[in-house]
């Protein structure tokens, strides 16, 4: 009898131990993402650009009747989405809410709130529709319009043209917020590599790009510096640790033939250029300003798998992809003399023929890329290098 009792004890303990170790029922999802957008018809010119808090939908040029738009958001499983009513500005006397939504989607965008399955977390998205029949990448940039990210406090450049907002510019600022979180830095617009300055050529503002140290975060991930960058396209924080070159998604559709990239800049190089291990490199830092015109249709057709097809170039192929037809690039990005703005006119050098009707049909895209350290994409540059750019203009064939 006694022996049996001991066995029982042991069995009880084993049971307790193993019972406690069972895999629990899965918790409700905490994430609240828009992961995709579905439409019944083929209304998208390119895949909607979805960042962590903004969705930009580029409509086919042939889409005119927006009342029939039937779009559905794909969300994190279990999440729900609702219109943020107070982001809707109803004009006096206007009753048709749908009309107001569509008008505002086209002009300034409308905020939607996504609530997680467990109802504990919510995120606001700015949803913006872009009609593309008139060509939608502006040709002139004064860098006067900025907004500040609500949570991370970095500067976002956009363009206001005839009351309509265009969110065409991306920068590495979202990833620099990791550095600031990591090292306990202050999250304010001035802490980031890409920001605004009152030292402007015209108007009140210009874009200021500054190469920054990434501190202990950089030491941990072998990314010791962050060059200030600003480009036409969007930034995906996903691969910043694993494949930073693919985080920059360059280029948006453009329906004119570009001839030159013009603008004003001033550049001061930081004192000491260092490499990816923060070891000194015997060279002077230089900035980079260039524009790339590429055949987006060709780029997408070159990828056999539909699910891997993308409409943008990345840091891997921005200057080398076979779909590129023309590049305009600042030849000497060294320091500019004095404290005055220097004008640059960079002609597009064509390496392939372009059919005008294909351009008009929006088969092509353009990317403008600026960086405070030319080799910043490989983490080579001088902390403190500063590039100020203003009054950028894409000169096009009339």
């Amino acid at each position: 009898m006694k022996q049996r009792r001991i066995y029982l004890w042991v069995i009880c303990f084993m049971l307790l131990f193993s019972l406690g170790s069972c895999i629990k029922e899965e918790a409700l999802n905490m994430e609240a993402d828009i992961v995709g957008i579905q439409a019944e018809e083929d209304i998208f010119l390119l895949n909607p650009v979805i960042t962590n808090n903004q969705v930009t939908v580029y409509l086919q040029p042939s889409i005119h009747d927006l009342k029939k738009l039937n779009m559905k958001f794909d969300l994190t499983p279990g999440a729900s989405i609702e219109l943020l009513q107070d982001s809707l500005k109803m004009p006096a006397g206007e009753q048709d809410v749908n009309k107001v939504i569509i008008d505002q989607l086209l002009k300034n965008g409308v905020y939607y709130k996504v609530v997680s399955q467990d109802k504990q977390f919510a995120k606001n998205y700015l949803i913006k529709l872009v009609k593309t029949d008139g060509g939608f990448v502006p040709t002139e940039y004064g860098f006067e319009d900025i907004s500040i990210d609500k949570d991370e406090k970095y500067t976002i450049f956009f363009n206001k043209i005839d009351g309509e907002d265009f969110y065409n510019w991306g920068s590495g600022n979202p990833s620099f917020s990791l550095t600031l979180s990591f090292g306990g830095g202050v999250k304010e617009p001035e802490s980031y590599p890409t920001k605004t300055t009152t030292d402007a050529h015209s108007g009140t503002k210009a874009a200021l790009l500054e190469t920054k140290l990434t501190g202990s975060f950089g030491a941990m991930f072998k990314k010791p510096i962050a060059a200030g960058n600003l480009f036409i396209g969007s930034f995906d924080t996903g691969p910043v640790l694993t494949d930073p070159l693919s985080a920059t998604q360059f280029g948006l559709p453009f329906n004119q033939i570009p001839l030159a990239l013009e603008g004003y800049y001033k550049y001061t190089a930081g004192a000491n250029v260092t490499d990816e291990n923060l070891k000194p490199v015997n060279m002077k830092d230089s900035c980079d300003i260039y524009a790339v015109f590429y055949n987006r249709k060709k780029l997408m057709a070159s990828e056999p798998k539909p699910e891997n097809r993308v409409s943008y170039l990345t840091g891997h192929n921005i200057l080398t992809d076979p779909s590129i037809v023309a590049i305009a690039r600042l030849e000497n990005g060294g320091a500019t003399a004095g404290n005055n703005f220097v004008k640059f006119v960079l002609p597009f050098k064509y390496s392939a023929k372009v059919t005008e009707s294909d351009v008009t049909n929006l088969d092509y895209s353009i990317a403008i890329v600026m960086s405070s350290s030319k080799y910043g994409d490989n983490f080579i540059g001088a902390v403190g290098s500063k590039l100020i750019v203003d009054d950028l203009k894409i000169v096009t064939q009339k």
């Binding site: 006694k2 406690g20 905490m30 979180s181 924080t237 996903g238 694993t242």
Partner: protein, 253 residues
Amino acid sequence: MKISIYIVLLAVMASISTLVNAQEIDSKDDRLDVQVMLGTKIGGAAPLSLPREIRKIKSYSPNVPFFVGAKANYHIDSKWGLSLGLTFEGKGMDTKATVKGYKTTFNAVNDSKDELRGYYTGDITTKVHNLYLSVPIQATYQLSNHWNVQAGPYISFAVKKEFYGEAYNGYLRHEQPTGDKIIVDNADYDFKESVRNIDVGLSLGTQYAVNRKFFALAQLDYGFNNIMKNGFESISFGLHNIFMNVGVGYKLK
């Protein structure tokens, strides 16, 4: 580290011989006997119950699963007794698990001030290889000629600490589940500095005397405290040393 293990082994040997000597001195007294034992163990640094964040345990294997030790038993009467022991043992495991929405931080090595906080979803390996020098104090009870049971607290001193691993095939949501999504692959972590030096727990065991000299033993050790230091936040739940020991022993008498 190697050297300190040898020192510990020497200490164990020395204590055993001291106990043996003590036993020789008191050999006339039937009330005292000394045992030496060794064996293997299975268990791990485990949460009391698996948190919901752990979705799947892909693999588990014990690591450094050994114990070697000695015990001096004092027999109060024919049934009850007290024992004091010294055990050198490894408490370790290697696991691979899939987690979802696991609140964690990625630290710069040995610098807890700089860290990337967030919610991680993906695969994670955990390698715990800790060596302890333990002192168990137990009450013993003789059930029958063959069987006896022991229960009592122990205190363990860590002599070698290893707690490291890798996050891979996953992503981190920065700060909040709604924060920026960052793909994580091959991100190493090392938490050995955050492993406590002292572990206190309770043992419950039984011995089966095969003959007058040899016996088999089984013992469950359960650590009361989290093996990680207070203020350690990279794992959102407490980890306790929970091990089942199985081994053999020999009565020096």
